[in-house]
Amino acid sequence: MSTLVLEGEGLTMRFGGLVAMAEVDFKLNRGEILGVIGPNGAGKSTLLNIITGIYKPSSGQVRLEGDKLTGIPTHKIVERGIARTFQSSRLFGDLSVLDNVIIGRHVHTKCGVFDAVFRRGRAQRELKESAAIAEDLLKAVSRELYEQRHRPAAVLPQADRRRLEIARALASEPKVLLLDEPSSGMDDNDTEALITDIRAVCAARPDLAMIIIEHDMHLVSTLPHKVMVLDYGEKLAEGTYEEVRKIPRVQEAYLGRKAVENA
């Protein structure tokens, strides 16, 4: 069962003199959730940007099911089966909720300019199918969101925006889903609801692997199978949440040296 889906090897990212990521390795199995934690500026988002091809690592490589991803443009990586959300939710605000999810189906649809103009039937059919799939997806993620499918995405409250981002990412039927701080800006109730939502998503897709970047320790202690700790672009530790949180260097990185000494 534990088949490898995504792996990173020696990932290093330099911006000029600044080292944002140094020699980070990770492995992700099918159906597994990897939590990534670390203080601000530890390189968590850099990791996601490398995996999705937005940054090209200075050295090291990412492989999806054994195929090298490094150097492939972002939109092709999505096609291979990696979808993501953003820390500051980046929805298509002036489009409807439903359109946002339909756009998420882009890699599974084919009609180009020629089809759209001269083979209208085909293009319409394809779009209708996408719309139906998108509606089902919205229903599955959240009934409330489905009810609001014809409203512009920009008017949604924060929690719904996050849900919509997840639905949009799932629309591409990814093998790996990357969530960048899904709970940021949420209160405890919303976070609890989010955890339930993610669980439901996983239950419906047993093969889906996930990387979740998080600050909320409650979420980190509940969802991920294993946790990786980053600090100053380096991997400090990896293991289950219980294992990781006992490591002194992790506590130091998180709480500061003083607090650890006092504890």
Partner: protein
């Protein structure tokens, strides 16, 4: 009880249906009558008064969104009727213009500008790519077809697709820098492209230099020469009517293009690109390709419009295709409403007619365009008719 309820709702449905039909007919007929009057009237006081009425109507729509929605709903409910009536109005329109060649000429210009504005709308409206070179694509189309006709005796009907193709190729070339450059840089590239094209047309020998090309023959169709009056059922229309129908057909094609592309995967991808380019890439959209595509589609339609223009006036010179033409087209798109087909057409017609009808004012035309753009961007960036959300299956 349940049955009577059922009957009542059915009756109510029929009632709104009838109201909807009446609404569609009323809006289209009043719009056409208004446009006719505006084209024929000569007294500037009446023109200003009509503009006042137009603004008031817009204001009422703006302040009563329910009314606006009702009208929009009626049109989408009775789409077939609206299209049919619209087609009849467009076909009949030249017959009610009292043989005025000037009014017909203004109609042709409006329709050509409407095509150009719809072309630019793919970029500016759908994808938010600033392209200051639509005027250049228009010129490339005009020159390509005129050269074919004047030098090789190629007929209009063959020159039209060839010119479209040539303009598209140049559009692709212009779009290529958009792979690496964005925003201000891309705007600079498009402005520079427009200037380069103008300077080349102005200096190359085979384009006739600043004098341009003369003697472009009028098109012929089934032995009917477009320079001669159009006789329909014994009723004779001025020769401009030929080009009126031709450019109306072109606008129809442009509308079909715009509508089909808007309601397709391509239109969605362009809109995604407009909202957030990075997020679009992360949905698997090849943003570079879609940008280049927007350039190509824009150039294709602009090339068509250029061809018709060249054969209509029979004489073209580089000054018909300057940077200011590009800015004029841009003004139409912004004022009318970006990514709204109806809005873009209204913007084009309005901004073509205004400077022509207010003659005293026509020297200030360019100033007026500049101020209009800034005012709209500052006060009402969505334009007269804002974009509408897509609906699927009602």
């Amino acid at each position: 009880m349940a049955a009577s309820n059922h009957i009542e709702t059915a009756a109510a449905g029929a009632g709104t249906g009838a109201v909807g039909i009446a609404l569609v007919i009323a809006v289209e007929l009043i719009g056409a009558a208004f446009l006719r009057q505006f084209l024929l009237v000569e007294d500037w006081r009446i023109i200003v008064g009509m503009l006042g009425v137009f603004c008031a109507a817009l204001y009422v729509l703006q302040s009563r969104p329910a009314l606006e929605n009702r009208i929009a709903e009626a049109f989408s409910e009775h789409r077939r009727l609206a299209t049919l009536l619209g087609a009849v109005i467009v076909l009949m329109f030249p017959f009610v213009l009292e043989q005025s060649t000037y009014a017909l000429h203004l109609c042709v210009l409006s329709l050509l500008y409407a095509t150009l504005a719809l072309a630019l709308n793919f970029q500016l409206g759908s994808a938010n790519i600033p392209n200051f070179a639509t005027g250049a694509s228009y010129g490339i189309g005009a020159y390509a077809s005129a050269l074919l006709a004047v030098n090789l005796g190629v007929s209009f009907w063959l020159a039209l697709p060839v010119a479209g193709l040539v303009a598209t190729i140049f559009g692709f070339l212009l779009g290529l820098p958009s792979m690496r450059t964005r925003e201000s840089y891309l705007a600079l590239v498009t402005i520079a492209f427009g200037v380069v094209v103008h300077q080349l047309l102005n200096n190359l020998e085979f384009t006739g230099g600043p004098n341009g090309l003369v003697g472009i023959p009028a098109p012929e169709l089934f032995g009917h020469n477009f320079a001669s009056p159009l006789v329909v059922f014994g009723y004779s229309l001025p020769s401009q009517a030929n080009f009126y129908y031709l450019s109306a057909l072109l606008v129809l094609i442009a509308i079909l293009f715009a509508d089909r592309l808007h309601n397709s995967r391509v239109g969605l991808a362009w809109n995604a690109l407009r909202a957030d380019e990075l997020a679009a890439r992360c949905q698997g959209i090849n943003t570079t390709w879609y940008k280049v595509l927007a350039f190509a589609v824009d150039a294709f339609l602009a090339g068509f419009a250029g061809t018709i223009y060249a054969f209509y006036v029979g004489f073209i010179s580089p000054d018909n295709f300057t940077f200011l033409v590009s800015v004029t087209i841009m003004t139409m798109v912004i004022a009318g409403g970006m990514d709204n087909i109806l809005g873009v057409i209204v913007g084009a017609v309005l901004l073509t007619l205004l400077p022509e009808k207010l003659r005293a004012f026509s020297d200030y035309r360019i100033l007026f365009f500049g101020v209009t753009v800034i005012a709209f961007l500052m006060i009402r960036p969505q334009g007269i008719f804002p974009q509408r959300l897509r609906r699927y299956g009602g």
